[in-house]
């Protein structure tokens, strides 16, 4: 049997019920408190180019009901495709606009946010959630947000976002209630940017 296929069976949740719950609560807390960094122990061990935390979030939220889109770095890895397919049962979306979830390992090169499903004015929930694998959530250009879930302001400084992220995110929040939601991850830390988080200030 080919190595990629063998590996695909391993590295999932050891305790599927409890691991998924713990991972979900971290994501829910982060979504409810945008731009706040939350530490969470990744409970999955996916193949190399997929980070353990993104693998765990995928196992928690993605299943046969939710097409997923992989960015080229993840999509080119047969091991990653086989692992996600086995552990989530999700089918791959041919284009970003068709995906409920997008897994992105190379955020600097990701398609513009408006290429993903935005939902409709009647059903804004039919929109994509983007899970980004970043180098770090600290040390980049600071981004300051306000909005629901944020007491006053919240600042986060993720590294390796797209160069024109500020412009893209401002447009994303202007489309409210349509728009995409982001789950940013780096190592064992995650932070969320729901479409309701409005950018107020950028320092260079």
């Amino acid at each position: 049997m080919d190595a990629a296929v063998t590996h695909a069976f391993e590295g999932g949740f050891a305790e599927p019920v409890l691991d998924a719950q713990a991972t979900f609560r971290a994501v829910m807390d982060a979504m409810a408190r945008p731009a706040r960094i939350i530490e969470v122990a990744p409970r999955a061990a996916p193949p190399a180019s997929l980070s353990p935390l993104v693998g765990a979030i995928a196992c928690t939220l993605i299943d046969a009901d939710t097409p997923m889109w992989l960015d080229p770095r993840l999509g080119e890895s047969e091991a990653v495709r086989a692992w996600l397919s086995f552990h989530t049962g999700a089918r791959l979306a041919a284009a970003p606009a068709e995906a409920a979830f997008a897994l992105i390992a190379d955020p600097g090169e990701m398609p513009p946010l408006d290429r993903f499903a935005q939902g409709t004015q009647e059903y804004p929930d039919r929109s994509a959630t983007l899970i980004l694998q970043l180098d770090s959530l600290e040390g980049g250009a600071p981004l300051t947000f306000h909005g629901p879930g944020i007491k006053g302001e919240a600042t986060i400084a993720p590294v390796s976002l797209p160069a024109d992220f500020v412009r893209q995110w401002t447009e994303n929040t202007k489309r409210f209630p349509r728009g995409v939601d982001l789950i940013l991850s780096a190592g064992e830390a995650l932070a969320c940017l729901p479409r309701s988080a409005r950018l107020i200030e950028v320092e260079v």
Binding site: P124, G147, G149
Partner: protein
Amino acid sequence: MTAATYNFAYLDEQTKRMIRRAILKGIAIPGYQVPFASREMPMPYGWGTGGVQVTAAILGPDDVLKVIDQGADDTTNAVSIRKFFQRVAGIETTTNTADATIIQTRHRIPETPLQEGQVLVYQVPIPEPLRFLEPRETETRKMHALEEYGLMHVKLYEDIARNGHIATTYAYPVKVEGRYVMDPSPTPKFDNPKMHMSEALQLFGAGREKRIYALPPHTDVVSLDFEDHPFEVQRFDRPCALCGAEQVYLDEVVLDDRGGRMFVCSDSDHCETRQAEGFRGELAGEKLDASTSDRTEEVI
């Protein structure tokens, strides 16, 4: 003997994932009702199946659950839901608001201010605030999409025209972050101000109507009103008869067939905590002073 075993927290994992995705979208779009594939639960609609499904989807083994029904921990609905989760999840339960990590509620918000890290789960019968004004889902959905809420203001205006004031006392509509008009579930309007800028995450589950919606912490929640008829909460002209608390929501309890009645805290935990701290109301049942009428003593 081994009882039938269920998955942790009753629901299967695929159902939990579906509900969890709906919760995340609900949080990202505060006040918007996310459709979800509500399951049949081992209790009838109207008994909190929406709230139970939301609680089951977020609950973990370390959570401490409190369940209230009209503010009380000891009424049928609260007791059976608490027992349900004890049985299918083996989690710890409490009646103390401050000790709980998840509070499932039917129509009250506890008097004790909620803290960061707590989640309040509402059982919602009719999630659509416009439903009694416009029965067609296709139309109400369009009204939300276009932010067309004139009809709701007409309804409140008609209240004023007929009664001289806004007569809506529960399920009082709110506007969330200046965008979505939302039904706070049939909580008394007394509780509406507690939703505004709450420290806790608030999740709403409507089982029969298949909708989930959410208010993240620190979210702007404004009760609809008019400049010349500003929103006001109920006021009570006497304190709780058992613990003497003021500025809390009181239930009227009929005592006899001669018009005797008492007003007591609707939040049973708040009332018991205050009594344990030594606060006494006029009908607390001990050390009755001279001001207490003869008939009241007779009742006790």
